[in-house]
Amino acid sequence: MLQRFIDWRMNYVLVLAIIVFVVPLLMDNPFYFDLATQILIIAATVVGLNLLVGYAGQISLGHAGFYGMGAYFSAIATTTYNWPPLLAIVVAAAVVGLIAYVVGRPILRLKGHYLSMATLAVGFIIAIILNNESELTGGPDGMSVVPLSLFGWELSTFGLYSMFGFEIPGHIAWYLVAGVLLLVAVVVAQNIIDSPIGRALRSIHGSEIAARTVGVDTTHYKSLVFVVSAIYASVMGSVFAHFTGFITPAIAGFDYSIVLITMVVLGGMASPMGVILGAVVLKLMPQFLAGFQEYETAIFGFILMATMIFMPKGFYPTAMNALRRKLGRYSGGEA
């Protein structure tokens, strides 16, 4: 029974939904909501990145570039040019998608370390532009961003809203919005994976040669998933910008790209729950390590290294495999 549940296609979305909507009942501090909202936003970003890294097996060390582009496009369009945020988010996604397509097409022919080098270079160039064009972006000290609003209805973390007769403070409203966004992101990603497109993507990871012999245009599919994951990053970057109200070019930088891909690998490649867990762990880590003061950096590096050495598949798949084995033993085993 339990065994079947674990193997059902969308079960985890249900579990995730329950977690997302039960967790707020356990939190009473706006700070926790603030952190949790950021986790949800970043988790949705890495769910997109996972399509590229986990399923299609292509490395990107520059994905924060797209995240930053989305964030800055929205920030500039809404704050400087007074566009409505929703329009800004959509146009940003389209522009970022187009840029990803233009650069992705040639670089995705590269393999392994050369691909990581090329993506790294793209990310760097984006970050350098954001840093230097201070007339538009405010430069390295960053710029402030107006809150998200929808048809004149403004969503601010500090506001107070009434919904269905309840008074809902802004930080909880934001949390719920981000939660819904994550669930949508996960469902869409899972649908893609379960489709013929997803099959083609996974076959590129499994055996690019096999994929090509049965007619998969691998370059096309790599570009496609690159664009899709860039759009994920762009949209969530925009959302993040409106949520925090202030962004700096650091969110487009190399360090942040590494953080994103680490979330994917640490939690478990090709596993949506895994990468979400990766996002949770990596986002919470600085908060927990804050007590270690000067040892913080060393401990963080140690944890990263040790996890990847002892759980090269990431902790979610490792844990689930252990669970399956255990269940298998109780139910008499399954072929």
Binding site: I192, S195, P196, G198, R199, H205, G206, A210, T213, V216
Partner: protein
């Protein structure tokens, strides 16, 4: 009889070494056409040239009258060519059935939009694809492995799985690179039967194989190559009696 594959003056050099030299032959539709030769004779290289993994140094390859030199494997697949590999290429990150369904890639019209939202047209297509794939798995004798992870399957089963995947693409011509390697007697006999059935459905089959019994039993024509050059070509009977072939095989 129409000519399926026509090869003229085919040359392939690797750093000055001739792997294939001046090869000419043609394969007619519906034939089982085998390529044999000693180890290192260039059989797999020839397959890689035909299927677009290598680009010939010189010469021409036509498929159904169209020159396909330099064409990517996926574009050749669109023209009805499919193959298996000596070193198996199975996606170990998927189930057996998914591997076969992948073979139907070109038969599916899904796009990003229908996929993202799982629209009814996609679900219909997927259902048809799944049914056809299950059918093919049963056809090749992998019916017991439908939902098994490919990584958990035996060598022999994977070999058949690769054939099922190739068949899923509804190929006009199927190239099998040493399908019997590593199989035991019973399995080889089953394979022979399978190839026969495939040929009966009108699919042209090209075969690279070491197992002489198998080759002689099912081939309509054979091509013998040595050091990248044509040594002999003809029916199994003609090859069996060819003095050059006998000399080459007996180490003459």
């Amino acid at each position: 009889m129409t000519v399926m594959i026509d090869i003229k003056g085919l040359d392939k050099e690797f750093g000055g070494v001739h792997a294939i030299e001046g090869l000419e032959f043609s394969v007619e539709q519906g034939q089982v056409y085998s390529v044999i030769g000693p180890n290192g004779a260039g059989k797999t290289t020839l397959f890689n040239l035909i299927t677009g993994f290598y680009i010939p140094t010189r010469g021409d390859i036509t498929l159904n009258g169209e020159s396909v030199v330099g064409m990517d494997p996926n574009r050749l697949a669109e023209r009805g060519m499919c193959r298996t590999f000596q070193q198996m290429q199975v996606c170990m990150n998927m189930t057996a059935l998914e591997n076969v369904m992948l073979g139907r890639h070109l038969q599916i019209r899904a796009n990003l939009l229908t996929s993202m939202f799982r629209l009814p047209s996609l679900l219909r297509e997927e259902k048809a694809c799944r049914e056809r794939s299950e059918e093919l798995m049963k056809f090749v004798g992998c019916g017991d492995y439908l939902d098994t992870e490919a990584s958990a399957m035996s060598y022999g089963a994977l070999k058949r799985l690769e054939i099922a995947r190739a068949l899923a693409a509804d190929p006009k011509i199927l190239l099998l690179d040493e399908p019997a390697a590593g199989l035991n007697g019973t399995e080889t006999a089953e394979l022979e039967e399978l190839i026969r059935k495939i040929a009966q459905q009108g699919v042209t089959v090209m075969l690279v194989e070491h197992d002489m019994k198998l080759v002689m039993g099912i081939s309509d024509r054979l091509l013998v190559i040595n050091y990248g050059r044509k040594l002999a070509e003809g029916t199994p009977e003609e090859i069996r009696n060819n003095p050059d072939v006998i000399a080459a095989y007996l180490g003459g």
